[in-house]
């Protein structure tokens, strides 16, 4: 934290502006980042966080405004220039070369050159890598193959990569979104370590708990402007949310226990080794059943099996009391099962198609007569969904890749619901979306269950599961380890059921 006589900021932005067609992404943003501070950057999706980050990392040029690095006015035309200055970016979606070693990944583009030009000095490569890893307090082997690492370990390598280039500012975009609690803990320790070494860390996150735990100061962006910058001690959660959305959010009320409806789904002994084995449960009309568990416990794989994405090897699925076979997504769809996948970019959306085409993709038959798409009907359906889900888009013709994460997620949800499912499978429906969008998704889940939909919800956020679910199933290493009533279950109890009994067989072992 900056003392009474603070050092000059290492990174200073003044009146940064950037517009895209139809969007003022940044509108006169000022930002100071001091050495030795963790500076949290918060805001709804579409508030301008990503654009600001991209400007700082040299991925995108601002329309106007100035940048100073260590007091010197600079321009950052490309990522290489950013790295040269000492700005390192840890991406949300990690980029690595899986077939190269940790050391090679670490120093990609900055390999130490041997005396004979053009040849890489392997000894120095390894020692430089080991040095950078050491600063993070990890015992990763620099010679390990990148593709064999866990997500958390790859992220460590990414951070070490920035350190090896003498970074003075680290930008981290949602670094814990793919980490288990245990791994996040290790990351927080590394961040504290780096702060102690005088690094400035710009930390982007939607998770309040992390921000309050790590940050020294927090800047909130709203609609491309700075809504406020404050020392963390001077704000609380409600104040931050107010800054982000410009209003107080009504606290979502816990669902009153219903879900006594007819049984729609019964799963028995569902198995696909090695992901999961002998999974069984029932799901009723109007019920939200939660699936809790650590990363790698098989939650996503169970949903994928029921949705036919990757069919189960054995086991029974009964719909309304009748056994069904689900071998491909079309089977599941025919039986009224819809899945909202965890990774909307990989399997939820066709990025370059329009918002309208994405919305109707899974239910296009309904907009057709004799195989011909009725432009009028498709437009009506799309406009109705855009209004109903409050999807923020220039118009329905805009490519869906131009939308913010939260709005993309709404498109995926709307698309799934347009198939008129009886059963909705939701895999991390609020991952990577902002507080306001999250509240909207929560409200939607509650409302849909109220309308009689049966919902199976996978989430890594315990508060979300506890708030939304009628019953909670805990998975541990591919098997059901217990069922809980969310009204009297404590997070500790859930964690106890989720944690591997034998620490040696943890789903994400440390090396």
């Amino acid at each position: 934290m900056p003392d009474a006589a603070p050092p000059p900021p290492v990174l200073q932005a003044r009146r940064l502006s950037k517009s895209f067609p139809g969007v003022q992404a940044l509108d006169g943003v000022d930002l100071d980042v001091f050495p030795g501070e963790v500076h949290a950057l918060m805001g709804e999706n579409g508030a301008g966080k990503s654009t600001l980050m991209k400007v700082l990392a040299g991925l995108c040029a601002p329309d106007s405004g100035t940048l100073r690095f260590a007091g010197r006015e600079v321009t950052i035309p490309n990522p290489h220039a950013a790295a040269q200055l000492g700005i390192g970016m840890i991406h949300q979606e990690l980029m690595a070369f899986p077939d190269l070693t940790v050391a090679e990944n670490l120093l990609m583009g900055a390999e130490p050159i041997a005396r004979f030009p053009g040849w890489v000095d392997r000894t120095r490569l390894k020692s430089a890598a080991a040095g950078a890893l050491g600063r993070l307090g990890t015992r990763l082997d620099p010679g390990a193959r990148m593709g064999d690492l866990t997500v958390a370990q790859m992220q460590t390598v990414e951070i070490a990569r920035a350190l090896a280039r003498a970074a003075r500012v680290l930008i981290m975009d949602e670094p814990t979104s793919a980490l288990s609690d245990h791994e996040a803990e290790a990351l927080f320790r590394a961040i504290s370590e780096l702060r102690g070494q005088g690094l400035a860390i710009l930390y982007i996150s939607h998770r309040m708990a992390e921000v309050f735990r790590l940050a020294d100061r927090v800047t909130v962006l709203r609609d491309g402007r700075v809504a406020g910058t404050d020392p963390i001690a001077r704000v609380n959660e409600a104040a931050l949310i107010r800054l982000m959305v410009g209003r107080e959010l009504p606290g979502a009320r816990p669902r009153s226990g219903c879900g006594g409806g007819q049984e729609v789904l019964r799963v028995n002994g569902l198995t696909r080794l090695p992901a999961f084995a002998g999974v069984g449960f029932t799901l009723r009309r109007g019920e939200v059943l939660g699936l809790a568990g650590l990363m790698g416990a098989g939650r996503t794989q169970v949903l994928d099996a029921i949705a036919g994405l990757v069919p189960a090897g054995s086991g029974e699925i009964h719909l309304l009391g009748r056994p069904v076979r689900i071998r491909r997504p079309a089977d599941a769809q025919r039986h009224g099962i819809a899945l909202v996948t965890e990774d909307r970019r990989a399997s939820g959306l066709v990025p370059r198609m329009s918002v309208a085409a994405n919305l109707t993709l899974a239910s296009l038959r309904r907009c057709c007569r004799a195989g011909i798409i009725s432009a009028r009907r498709e437009a009506a359906v799309a406009e109705e969904q855009i209004a109903r889900f409050r999807i923020r888009t220039a118009d329905r013709h805009q490519p869906v890749e131009g939308l913010s994460g939260g709005n993309q997620q709404k498109v995926v949800l709307a698309k799934a619901l347009l198939t008129r499912p009886r059963i909705l499978l939701l895999d991390e429906p609020t991952r990577g979306i902002d507080v306001a969008a999250k509240a909207e998704v929560h409200e939607l889940i509650t409302r849909l269950a109220g309308e009689g939909l049966a919902i199976l919800l996978v989430s890594s956020e315990l508060p979300e599961l506890l708030r939304l679910c009628d019953r909670l199933l805990v998975l541990r290493e591919g098997t059901v380890s217990g069922e809980l009533n969310p009204r009297d279950a404590s997070p500790e109890e859930i964690l106890r059921l989720a944690m591997p009994v034998d620490p040696d067989s943890a789903p994400t072992p440390s090396p």
Partner: protein, 321 residues
């Protein structure tokens, strides 16, 4: 997909600048203007019809391969399938043998079967499209040589050769065929459900599958359409040259793919369409016949064509930034 150096994801794809969207039309107009000045005879009705007839075969092939490129595939076998279909059609087109519909149907069938074989190997066989269609390119050529005994199939009925030489209300039949094929394909891709699915499969096959779309079926369909169009082009070519030539069509696939790419269809699939393809084929045709009539040597023409292909794609990718 998630390339870190691509600036500002808000702008990736989709929204294109005015210059990129209308660049082809402008290029055509400028070229036309230049030709009109240098060659006063270029814009006479008869000359334009000759040009149109020259481009119709490449145009038909380009429209067909647009389907495959949109799904993210490629078809290198077009030229050989053109020859095979021409030989097969010619074999049924001797005077007094069969009514006209038989050689036409057989030519189309030959092309469609080649396309189906390509499609099945790509989907069920999980072999890369490049390899599958490279194999088909060689095999179909071989089959054409076997069926014809290595000699041109000649002595064709006048009804059959009329497909290549006759005109209806002053417009050559090949031009009519090309126009019909292009119009039907554009309507199919834009307004029919399977057409939309072709874009979805090319844009993100995994998301298409998760949406319940039969991805294999869509790909198979696009290869079959492409094969059928190659068959059609083979019939037109055989009729125009009044022989089924087993050595015809060498390199046609590359001209066709070039026309599609100049027209703005992405080689990685999901973006583009028939409108661009038609413009691309027109541009290539006007350039080559304009250069012909200006007496530019065929050798130089190849260099110019190569530069234009690269320049078109370069301009297109710049326009997206």
């Amino acid at each position: 997909m998630s390339n870190p150096t691509q600036p500002c994801p808000v702008l990736q794809g989709g929204q294109r600048s005015w210059a990129a969207r209308y660049g082809l039309v402008i290029a055509l107009l400028i070229l036309g203007g230049a030709l009109a000045i240098r060659l006063p005879t270029f814009f006479t009705g008869t000359n334009l019809l000759i040009v149109a007839r020259q481009i119709s075969i490449n145009g038909i092939l380009a429209v067909g391969v647009t389907f495959v490129l949109l799904t993210g595939g490629v078809d290198l076998s077009l030229g050989s399938v053109v020859a095979l279909a021409g030989v097969v059609a010619a074999g049924f087109a001797h005077p007094g043998d069969w009514p006209l519909v038989v050689p036409v149907a057989m030519g189309l069938l030959a092309g469609t079967l080649c396309g189906a074989a390509n499609g099945l190997l790509v989907t069920r066989g999980r072999v890369a499209p490049f390899i599958v269609t490279l194999g088909m390119m060689t095999a179909a050529r071989g089959l054409a040589l076997v069926l014809s005994g290595g000699r041109p199939v000649s002595n064709l009925s006048p009804e059959f050769t009329a497909i290549g030489s006759a005109s209806v209300v002053g417009i050559p039949v090949p031009v009519l065929v090309f126009s019909a094929v292009a119009a039907l394909s554009a309507v199919f891709l834009n307004h029919f459900r399977p057409g939309r699915y072709i874009y979805a499969v090319g844009g993100n096959a995994e998301a298409a599958r998760a949406s319940g779309i039969n991805v294999h079926g869509v790909k198979l369909l696009s290869y079959m359409v492409c094969g059928a169009m190659a068959g059609l082009a083979g019939i037109v070519l055989a009729a125009r040259t009044t022989t089924g030539q087993p050595n015809a069509g060498v390199g046609y696939e590359l001209d066709a793919i070039a026309a599609v790419v100049i027209g703005g269809t992405s080689l990685s699939g999901g973006v583009g369409g028939v409108k661009g393809t038609v413009l691309g084929a027109l541009l290539m045709g006007v350039i080559s016949s304009g250069l012909d009539q200006l007496n530019v040597s065929a050798y130089y023409q190849q260099i110019i064509k190569g530069l234009i292909i690269v320049a078109a794609v370069w301009l297109d990718s710049r326009g997206k930034k």
